[in-house]
Symmetry: C2
Subunit: 367 residues, 2 copies
Amino acid sequence: MQVDGKHYRTIWVHPEDDSVIQIIDQRHLPHQFVIEDLTSVTGVALAIRDMHVRGAGLIGATAGYGMYLAALHDASDNNLKKASRELTQTRPTAVNLSWAVDRQLKAIAQADSTVDRIQVARQTAEDIANEDVDYCRSIGEYGLELIRKLAKEKGSGPLHILTHCNAGWLAFVDHGSATAPMYAAHDAGIDIHVWVDETRPRNQGARLTAWELGQHGVAHTVIPDNTGGHLMQHGLVDLVLTGTDRTTSSGDVVNKIGTYLKALAARDNDIPFYVALPSSTFDWKIKDALAEVPIEQRGADEVAMIQGLNEGQLKKVLITPPDSPLANYAFDVTPANLVTGLITERGICAANRESIGRLFPEYVINH
Amino acid sequence: MQVDGKHYRTIWVHPEDDSVIQIIDQRHLPHQFVIEDLTSVTGVALAIRDMHVRGAGLIGATAGYGMYLAALHDASDNNLKKASRELTQTRPTAVNLSWAVDRQLKAIAQADSTVDRIQVARQTAEDIANEDVDYCRSIGEYGLELIRKLAKEKGSGPLHILTHCNAGWLAFVDHGSATAPMYAAHDAGIDIHVWVDETRPRNQGARLTAWELGQHGVAHTVIPDNTGGHLMQHGLVDLVLTGTDRTTSSGDVVNKIGTYLKALAARDNDIPFYVALPSSTFDWKIKDALAEVPIEQRGADEVAMIQGLNEGQLKKVLITPPDSPLANYAFDVTPANLVTGLITERGICAANRESIGRLFPEYVINH
């Protein structure tokens, strides 16, 4: 992605000091572009927990680099195990987190000397990040064909795509999952317009997706999360396209709270509902997301207080009565029967075990 | 309703100066309780348009008092017609507005002298407000029986009611529509708990409904609008109960944007979805709400900027990138087939022409 014309990833090793990992502290976007240095596992865990970085792919990549920092400081089995626990406990719902940490533990276990372990950990972190970029690019290519087909069927006017939360460049290392097809379609000259759900309570849509799309020049409109159903009833949405934080091998999609409501409206109005994800976001072990996936509950402050720009400064304002209790469930489950299809790095498939198993036979057993 | 132990209506004639109408300027709630004086039709129109007052019943009552101020200053047909236009143009979706203004025009037309006209206009404004109070009280009584039945069926634990926006005391003259049954149930000792949708973009739930329920001592929790589907999937909602800004004689419900999404989730999870309204909120003339009701679009600033308390002062913060376009549709339509029933001042009926016609035969022709 370009930011003011310069190419960035969302995470990288400091070019002059390879004991420092650099990230974009996304809490300040869209108003401030802040780069943060991470030098310890604890710093990495804090950055994930407090959402300096967030999003399926980027959480995985950050955990990967976190394990590299762990090895750099103390490559013993004990310390690596401690670091892996510290990292995986930060966010319970996101599956990329444990996927990346497990991959690091397995890779590092193959190396004996401290020097080797550090080198392997760094290489594995880079591999995770590079694969994330490659997979998202590939998702973009498959999604582009879907958008091309829908635009052709529609004939005239822009193809209206509704998205929820940020499954963009900022949620991965580059390109994004749900946004990759949008960027590819825009670059291919297809006329698209994106409805961006603001995505309360943390406003990742209003703050991050809108900013990303704007930087890339993609036509978009920010809407309150309540709006999508009305737009669909009036023929103003041609495609719903979101990311996911965890998807089961049976096609149940865990994603940002509110996704399920949009999927219901899409079904009620015969609008295709697609979910874009790299294979690292599949949870191959569980079957029933509603029963088995832990739904993260975050602090009440995220609902009560909203941060934004006031007279040039970022300030937080209190919305609710000081005494009113609040609840903050971060994710919900969209059952597979509401999902038209999944866009992966290996192609598009239906949201069921058989179809997913045809694309990923090495993971889906007994399909 | 009691505010800090003192009884209030939401609108009244100044006790010492009957050329002044007093309202609660709801834009400052829950952080500040501000009473505003209205002395002209233009002031009343501004208070409605900029939402110092809002909500189906209160908009009607305010327009009624606005017509009284119009008559007070110039009771000529010309001026009354001008005032009626100024008032009805403020909010296009709310049907109570034109209902109250038409009622005033008809009543005033019966009187000849200026003195009579002023007196009739004042009496009619008071009648509209008093009826609103009576009808809401009655809605509360019918709704109480529904809640009692559902609580009995459930057996143990609180009955969880989800509501959207503010169809409370603050949206009417007293009691509220959707809240009237909640207050009645609470007062009758039934164990209820209310999930309060914050209701973006203007946060009427987070600011007003939460504050009202808190003042009355009703257990409640504020949630982002995205949350209801998840709660319903997990058995944490027993009843959805909202108000409406306009309901057709065929049972289509126009209400705050996002209501439709909650109705879809309620159907998907077999949860009863009820709408409370006085007869003044029925639009007896139209049949197909989706095709015929104008959906108000409000300013982009309501989405981009959020007001709240910061260091003891009300401040507005900017959420979105300054260049991103925004859309702000204020209402949506919940088709009758998603509505379990309507709670009116004459009883509860199904959301269809036949059933509504049995309660209101004088309005529903050919039922």
